[in-house]
């Protein structure tokens, strides 16, 4: 069976259910690289210039571990996923970066998704293009796409209901969606970060364990619907032209306004150009309303360094909650 390799990095954490169902319906075997470890980061750092951000390095580490055993490598070029916003420049240049820094690659699947130029149907066109490689029958490709979209929507709903990424991936396989996990009255904290920080077990482990261990519940930006995020950013002087920027700033503002959340933890990676501006927007709009802790990742990250800061932050939150 033809094997398609999907590196466990970057947009894997957003679109994997769609990708998996799409390829499996077409009768292909989907091979995902093993979860991130220290070694992944080391391998990735070797391939790239030092100033690139950690998620890209992790992505390259996954490619390095995946490239031998697969026939195709899935590295789509996400240029824009909505008509008026771009993705990060590094995602736009990603397949070219892979081609120029990794040796002995299998064939890449690197068609572009460019909704800004081609309209919202660019997404579907992309999957048709990909399907053409594997199947001559256009109808079966379309069917695979719709199956994938259905699962992706279920996955999105599950995340909105507060399930974790891994649980949501598993549960989205079946067609009935379980109800929201029961409200347990825990104090809630929002975690503002791109899906590839908040869902990567290696990056989030130290934070989530500690925060949940102290009896708090963490909510990611994905618990909010698109409309809620849109509502968060509608008052800004200029619309943000990065899809993730919109999501982060919109959800932070929404979290601060809806009163559900007692504090925000902002995750960013060292040298991230967009997040420097996004965080500035967040701070500027809501810093008086809600306490914010900002944590910066790089390849030298250590759980101990974070834990002191998280502890202090949680203590501050606890005092604030007690006073009310």
């Amino acid at each position: 069976m033809t094997k398609v390799g999907v590196p466990r990095g970057l947009l894997f954490y957003r679109y994997f259910p769609l990708w998996e169902t799409f390829f499996e319906t077409l009768g292909l075997e989907v091979v995902v690289s093993t979860p991130t470890t220290e070694r992944t980061i080391r391998e990735g750092s070797k391939l790239l210039p030092g100033d690139l951000c950690l998620p890209v390095k992790i992505f390259f580490g996954h490619i390095e571990s995946l490239k031998k055993g697969v026939d195709f490598l899935f590295t789509p070029r996400y240029i824009s996923i909505e008509p008026d916003a771009y993705m990060c420049p590094k995602l736009i240049g990603l397949p070219d970066m892979v081609l120029s820094s990794v040796d002995s690659l299998p064939r890449l699947i690197d068609f572009p998704i460019h909704c800004k130029a081609k309209g919202t149907k660019a997404d579907a066109l992309f999957y048709l293009q990909v399907g053409k490689i594997f199947s001559k029958n256009k109808e079966s490709v379309e069917k695979a796409y719709w199956m994938g979209m259905e699962r992706q929507n279920r996955f999105r709903t599950l995340l909105q209901r507060g399930f974790f990424f891994e649980e949501a991936i598993d549960l989205s396989r079946s067609s009935d969606i379980p109800k929201r996990q029961s409200e347990d009255g825990r104090v809630k904290l929002g975690i503002i970060g791109r899906p590839y920080y908040t869902h990567d077990p290696f990056l989030r482990r130290s934070i989530v364990e500690q925060v949940e261990g102290k009896g708090y519940q963490l909510l990611t930006t994905e618990v909010l619907s698109d409309q809620e995020i849109e509502k968060g950013i509608e008052k800004l002087r200029k619309k943000i032209y990065w899809s993730f920027g919109k999501e982060l700033v919109g959800s932070a503002i929404n979290f601060a306004q809806n009163g559900l959340i007692q504090g925000l933890i902002n995750l960013a990676s060292f040298g991230c150009g967009q997040d420097s501006f996004n965080f500035e927007m967040i701070q500027f709009t809501i810093k008086e309303k809600i306490p914010i802790l900002s944590l910066i990742f790089d390849e030298h990250l250590s759980a101990v360094g974070f834990s002191t800061r998280i502890e202090a932050f949680l203590e501050m939150i606890a005092r604030g909650v007690g006073q009310r």
């Binding site: 240049g93 070219d96 120029s100 032209y241 040298g271 965080f279 927007m281």
Partner: protein, 359 residues
Amino acid sequence: MKLSVPYLGMLHKAYGPVLRNAGVEIVLPPRPTKRTLDLGTKHAPEFACLPFKITLGSMIEALELGADTIFMPGGWGPCRFGYFDVIQEQILKDLGYSFTMGSAKNPDDLSDMLDLMQRIAGLKSRAGLYKLFFFVLVRLSFLDWAMKKYFHTKPYEVVSGETNRIFEKAIHLIENSLSLPQLLRSATIISRWFKRMEKRNGTNPLRVAMVGELFTLLDPSANMEMDMRLAHKGIEVLKSVWLSDYLNDRFRFKPFRRNQFKFSLRYARPYLRFHSGGESIESVGKTVYFAKNGIDGVIHLFPFTCMPELVAQTILTKVQKDLDIPILTLIIDEHTAPGGVETRLEAFIDLLERRRKRR
């Protein structure tokens, strides 16, 4: 209305006299210094890029001098530049300055740009503004032309410092040419000056191309006058982007100059197939072009955390191997010292000289 425009290469020399002539009051802060950068760094987000910090510092200095309108074009690209105006306005208003930030929704669009200029410069006549805008662009292209001539002639000079004198005179002349016929006359005079200059025959200077991000490439406050320093060492300097070419790609005012973006894309395509913001295509494409046209070395310059150029840097490592061309990458931030850059430049030039001898 007191208008201030942040520095970018020789832009202030192009618009300054013309706008003043048209009755617009312009506040020109001192050229960015250490203080400018310190001011910018103090108030900017930590990972904002150097152009952001320098322009922010420059704005503060202009506001201190009484400016009440600032021009920052804005934009809608994947690069951060399009969001400069919003964040800078927030920071400055937070600091207690009151002013108007002049920015357009889509500065690549001529009518948007003219609307903006009409608003901030307070000029009534649209036709007059149209003429004025294009005259500024033409002046800019002549300034760039004089600078290119300077880089082209400098390595061959016999009397030390003569080229610099001519260049300064040339810039002064273009600056004071306030009509198109006068500008064309000045150009003839300048090219005669350069032609009549005593030149050394039989030398074959090293040719080095500077590629990278627009602001660091063009503004002496960001690149620490690296281009001039290279020229002083007797090296012919070429650049991947000039401001007049960059604007020509958008507003098409130079009839005989082809679109440099498309030109670069043709050469970049084997390595970088899509425009990933900023000057990534120009950096990769021009490097390939220069490498195929007998350049000795390439210097890739960009500010720390610049997203598009990081993509270009990753790809240039491959170009370097494929085309056997030495590339020196210099990443500049507020801690970069001129001394450190100088050492690296010298080592790079040594390497280039040795490569030449080996051939």
